[in-house]
Symmetry: C2
Subunit: 425 residues, 2 copies
């Protein structure tokens, strides 16, 4: 485990983490899949074997959180129990089972002069993960980075510091046991906010920052970081019900997209109804939502037809409720839906419900979001549902990776050129 530093010199602490991370990266970059898997299996075994010690560390965090007056929902996110530790360990086992992206040839071609060129996946390098209360991020992010050949520097929240440290200790012991540097996974030894600032300027050793947390964290990282950032902004996801939608399917998809789980980023926040479908589709779709206990906020046309709907204001179109609330707007066909999404959307995930393939094609081609869907629930916006296995998050960046970020998206590539003494004329 990282020793608690005697010095409180944040610059020196960060520099030390960087030097150790760079050294570890050289070894990890060329580690075999078997070695990385051995480390991850060992980490899962240790999480299970040392569950009591991890729970004891977590109890310290939970007690402090309760004493500080933290709300019950946040305490629940922080608290571990044997089931959650088992889920964490199983998460590591799942990552072991995933294919190793490193060393895979993405494409290769030959040139007329005999050069053979290929692009081969390689780790990004050193990744900084800045997160808040959930201790399970520690194991998830650590394991995803190790499997993809990346050294990870974790900066957890102060609320979960003891829990995160107990988890990281097991990861580091397992790395060392597998013959890899323990420093492939480091936890910042202090939760001083100044250390975040140092990480955001550490362009000499940090290749990527992944902030995981609320909007204020993302905003600070975006504003201050000189290191590239892979981030997730709002998920103001839309479902558009077209005139050619099957009514029963529209009811099912809207209900699932909104109400299956209201707190995830892929939950729908706005329903767009084709003006030509108001007579046929609106009532059955809203009836289902009301049955499920959803609040509906509609524009004037929606409210004229549905007295139970509250009035929606301009602000509603820009709001990610993460709650059983849905804004509903009337649009002029698929073009109107595309315009509404372009104006108010967050380029995360949008779905169309229609039986008309041409209309679906227009929507899928022209909506400029990370994930676009036809006749499916927006709640599928998830790495595991995509079949990528575990994910470190969903990217709303436009560059490098869009949507779920799993092992493959945690790699980059290099160009490998093979000649036979080939000279450029």
């Amino acid at each position: 485990m990282n020793a608690e530093p005697a010095s409180t010199d944040i610059v020196a602490i960060t520099r030390d983490m960087g030097a150790r991370a760079k050294a570890a990266a050289v070894a990890l970059r060329s580690a075999s899949t078997a070695t990385k898997n051995t480390a991850l299996k060992g980490a899962a075994r240790r999480l299970r074997a040392d569950a009591a010690a991890i729970l004891a560390a977590n109890a310290v965090d939970v007690a402090a959180a309760r004493a500080s007056g933290m709300g019950a929902a946040l305490v629940d996110r922080l608290a571990l129990d044997p089931t959650r530790i088992e889920a964490m360990a199983r998460g590591l086992d799942d990552i072991v089972a995933l294919p190793d992206p490193v060393g895979v040839t993405i494409e290769d071609w030959a040139r007329p002069n005999g050069l053979r060129i290929s692009r081969v996946r390689v780790p990004i390098g050193v990744i900084g993960v800045i997160y808040e209360a959930r201790p399970n991020v520690t194991a998830d992010a650590g394991a995803l980075c190790v499997k993809s050949g990346n050294v990870v520097v974790l900066r957890g929240g102060s609320d979960s510091f003891h829990s995160s440290r107990a988890i990281v200790e097991r990861l580091r012991a397992a790395l060392a046991e597998a013959g890899l540097p323990a420093d492939c996974v480091q936890l910042a030894p202090t939760t001083d906010r100044a250390l975040v600032g140092e990480l955001l300027r550490a362009t000499d050793w940090l290749d990527l920052i992944v902030p995981r947390g609320g909007r204020s964290l993302i905003d600070r990282v975006t504003e201050e970081s000189r290191v590239p950032v892979l981030r997730h902004y709002d998920g103001i996801c839309h479902v558009y019900v077209d005139r050619d939608a099957d009514i029963a399917m529209a009811c099912d998809i809207v209900a699932n997209a909104k109400m299956r789980r209201v707190s995830i980023c892929g939950a729908a926040e706005t329903l767009l109804v084709d003006r030509a479908a108001l007579d046929s589709h609106l009532k059955p779709v809203l009836d289902r939502l009301f049955e499920l206990g959803c609040e509906v906020r509609g524009d004037s046309e929606i409210r004229a037809r549905e007295p139970r709907a509250l009035p929606a204001t301009e602000k509603d179109w820009r709001t990610e409720y993460l709650a059983p609330v849905l804004s509903v707007a009337t649009v002029d066909g698929v073009r109107g839906a595309i315009r509404h999404i372009a104006t108010y959307g967050s380029q995360h995930t949008e779905a169309i419900v229609t039986s008309n393939e041409a209309t679906a094609g227009t929507f899928l081609a022209e909506v400029d979001s990370a994930i676009v869907m036809h006749n499916a629930s927006t709640q599928f916006a998830d790495g595991a549902e995509f079949g990528l296995g575990a994910e470190i998050g969903i990217s709303t960046n436009r560059m490098h990776a869009r949507g779920p970020v799993g092992l493959v998206e945690l790699t980059t590539y290099k160009n490998v050129v093979r000649g036979q003494g080939t000279l450029r004329p």
Copy 2:
């Protein structure tokens, strides 16, 4: 053409460019390949037909540059002539002939629940290109962005402003003639440096900044930009001559890598010689370099064997000469070469010369550069030589794209999900 703004309010000018860029991006994103090619062919035709007008505009820039005392080499970079205009037009024709990356499916797969998922290439969006004196960048960057479906905002140097404006006028006229918004290509109407600052903060409408110029420009952009940057830092390229290198091949590759053109980023700057090859390989390799007029700066072991070598200092290992000068270091085999490159390299392009496949494999796997080569000259570090066609530059970023950035690298992807009323359990 952009009208010269009456107001000198840089914030307002930038906002206006942004609004026009966003509107143009919607149309360009879904433009057909045929339409984009029609625009580029029209632009090439106009460059040729209006060569006299472009030369007249260029003459204004050249006269001002001479009057301000600009050096002959820089004036030469700035000056156009009929041959250079024809080369620019031919560059556009070449981009017409390249395949359109937009809409290409990168991968697709099915899930057990029946979802079909694909990743489809889409334009990045709006790209800002900040460049210095060369007017040909205007046509190149404009055409590459249009073909890849990206709106481009060009901010050229003040030295080439009239030339760039004359070129952009032809591109914009051709875009309009093809039925695309002229605003797909915009030239900043002022070369006020404050406008660069505004672009670097324009996260609401600018998706990527590509700085093309010297180190001070790149440094400013890196330090200030809140928009993602695709950049090219130093090209401190290495050639490692292994004990198992064919001697004649080593002489040819080192001579080509260093001396074919000394001013390009793929030119070798440091030669690493295996200690076990000093007796056999060093003299023939250096003899060839001296014949070609190259200055050699060696470490103490090199100088002990080669009296014509000047002493190399620590600084030489970190220097991109871009001149007929080569630093030469002795290393302990391929591992020593890998260590030297890791310590002093810029992760651009490195080559090994060896007939030993295992040694080559170690080098290609462990050198962590954008381009790694076996038995080939580092001067192949070039988009056209890679077969990508024209390039907007070479990326030394680790994320998104490494090495030559052509049309494909100017795109990103979206995730397209097709269901049959599929709900998440």
